[in-house]
Symmetry: C2
Subunit: 208 residues, 2 copies
DNA sequence: AGTTCTATCGGTCACTTGCCCGATAAGCGG
DNA sequence: CCGCTTATCGGGCAAGTGACCGATAGAACT
C-alpha cells in the first residue's frame, strides 16, 4: 500500500550525493524559483531525508548560492563556447539569438530571481557578483577577438559587453512579468551590438 | 514596566485606517522589500492587532499588490509631472536624471522586487503589468509632445519610450546586486534617448 | 572478522506565516 | 438614552520552515 520503501538506505560517495543534491536544486530553481529550494523539497526529489540535505549544506543559503552558481556557469558555456571554429561574428550572433530565445527564458528568469534574492542572502549576492563578472569577461573576450580579426570596431570592448548585458537583463526583466512585447524592442540587443561594433545592419540577425 | 497600553482601542474611519495600512506597508516595501509585508509587521508599525490588518485585507496578496501600485503611482508622478511649464526636453532630462539617481534607488529596487514576486502572486502580476503600461504611456506622451514641438524626431514614440524603460530596468537590476558600475554605462539611458530622438549629444545631460 | 568512520535516518524543536473565530467596545441613528 | 453595526481586540490553529539530535547501517581498512 505505502510507497515507502523503508530500510533501503543507500550510501553514496559524498561528492556524488552532493552533486545529486545541487542538480535537483537546480531543476527546482529553474522551474519554480530559488525560494522553492527547501531542505524538504530537495530531499523529496531524491527520496532522501531532509536531514541528509542538511548534512551537506548546514546552511540552506549555501545550497541556494551554489545552485545558482552551478546553473549560471553551465548556461554560460552554452551561450559562449570557448574553443569554437566559428568566427567572432557567428559566435556573437549565436549568443544574442540564444540569450533572448524562449528556451533561455528560464535562465534569464533565474538571473532576475537571484538579483532580487541577493538582497537578503549575502552568500548568494557574492555568487551573483562573481557570475556577473564571469559573463562579462567572457563576452568581453569574445568581442575582443572580433576586434583582433578586424570584424568589430570599438575602442572599449568591455563597455560594449556591459551594455549588451544590461539590455538583455532589462528585456528579460520586462518580459518576465509582461509577455506582450513588440519584436522591434526585442531586437534592441542586436541593434545595440551592431551599432556599437560598427557592423552592417542585419549582420548579427541570423544564427549560423 | 510594560509599554503595552491595553484597552486603548481607537476606532477610525475605514478609509483612513486602510490608507494608514497601505502607507505603512509602502514604507516597509521600500526599505525591506515586498516579502517583508506580513500582517504582524504592518500591524506592529501601527500598534494595532494583526487581525485588524487582516480585516481590511482578507488576502495578504491584495495588500502587497495594492502597496506596490500605490508606490509606483506616487513615484511616477514625481518622475513626470503632468502640468509642467517646462519644455519636453527639460522634462525628459529631469526624468532621466531622477530615474537613475541614488535617491530613486529604492524605487527601482521595488520594481525589480515586484517583477520577480509577480511570478508567484497573480494579483501583483496584474498590478505590475498595469503600472508598466502606465509608465510607458506617460513617457510616450512626453516624447510625443516633444515631437509636436519639433524638439524630438522619431517615427515611433512608444518604441523609444519602451527602449528607455528597458535600459533603466536593466541598469537598476545590475546595480542592485553590484554597485561597481562605470559611469559610461550608467549614461546608457541618456545616450540612447539622445540617439533615438536625434538630439545633439549632451542635450539631456543636465537637469534644469 | 573486527574496528572505525560517517552518510543517512527518523524525529523533534522553536519559530513564523496566513487565516480564522468569538468577544468587546466605539460610534452612529433612532 | 438605547440598540445596532462593525472596527478592533485577543487568542488560537495548521502548515511550513531551518536547524538540531541520537541512533543506525553502509563501506573501507586493517
Amino acid at each position: 500500500m505505502s510507497s515507502r520503501v523503508t530500510g533501503n538506505r543507500v550510501r553514496k560517495a559524498p561528492a556524488e550525493r552532493r552533486a545529486e543534491i545541487v542538480e535537483a536544486a537546480a531543476r527546482l530553481a529553474l522551474t519554480e524559483g530559488l525560494e522553492c529550494i527547501t531542505l524538504r523539497r530537495v530531499a523529496d526529489m531524491l527520496a532522501i531525508r531532509n536531514s541528509t540535505v542538511g548534512h551537506y549544506f548546514p546552511a540552506t543559503e549555501d545550497l541556494v548560492a551554489e545552485t545558482f552558481g552551478h546553473v549560471a556557469e553551465t548556461e554560460l558555456s552554452t551561450l559562449i563556447s570557448a574553443d569554437n571554429e566559428a568566427t567572432p561574428t557567428q559566435r556573437l550572433a549565436h549568443f544574442l539569438s540564444l540569450a533572448l530565445s524562449a528556451e533561455f527564458h528560464d535562465v534569464n528568469r533565474l538571473w532576475l530571481n537571484a538579483r532580487h534574492l541577493a538582497r537578503y542572502r549575502p552568500t548568494l549576492r557574492e555568487r551573483v557578483i562573481r557570475q556577473g563578472d564571469h559573463w562579462r569577461e567572457r563576452l568581453t573576450s569574445l568581442i575582443q577577438s572580433g576586434i583582433d580579426t578586424d570584424e568589430f570596431h570599438t575602442t572599449d570592448a568591455e563597455a560594449v559587453a556591459l551594455k549588451i548585458l544590461v539590455v538583455i537583463d532589462g528585456l528579460s526583466a520586462d518580459l518576465n512579468a509582461d509577455p506582450r512585447f513588440p519584436t522591434t524592442v526585442q531586437q534592441m540587443a542586436v541593434d545595440l551590438a551592431e551599432t556599437e561594433l560598427h557592423l552592417a545592419p542585419g549582420t548579427l540577425r541570423h544564427t549560423p
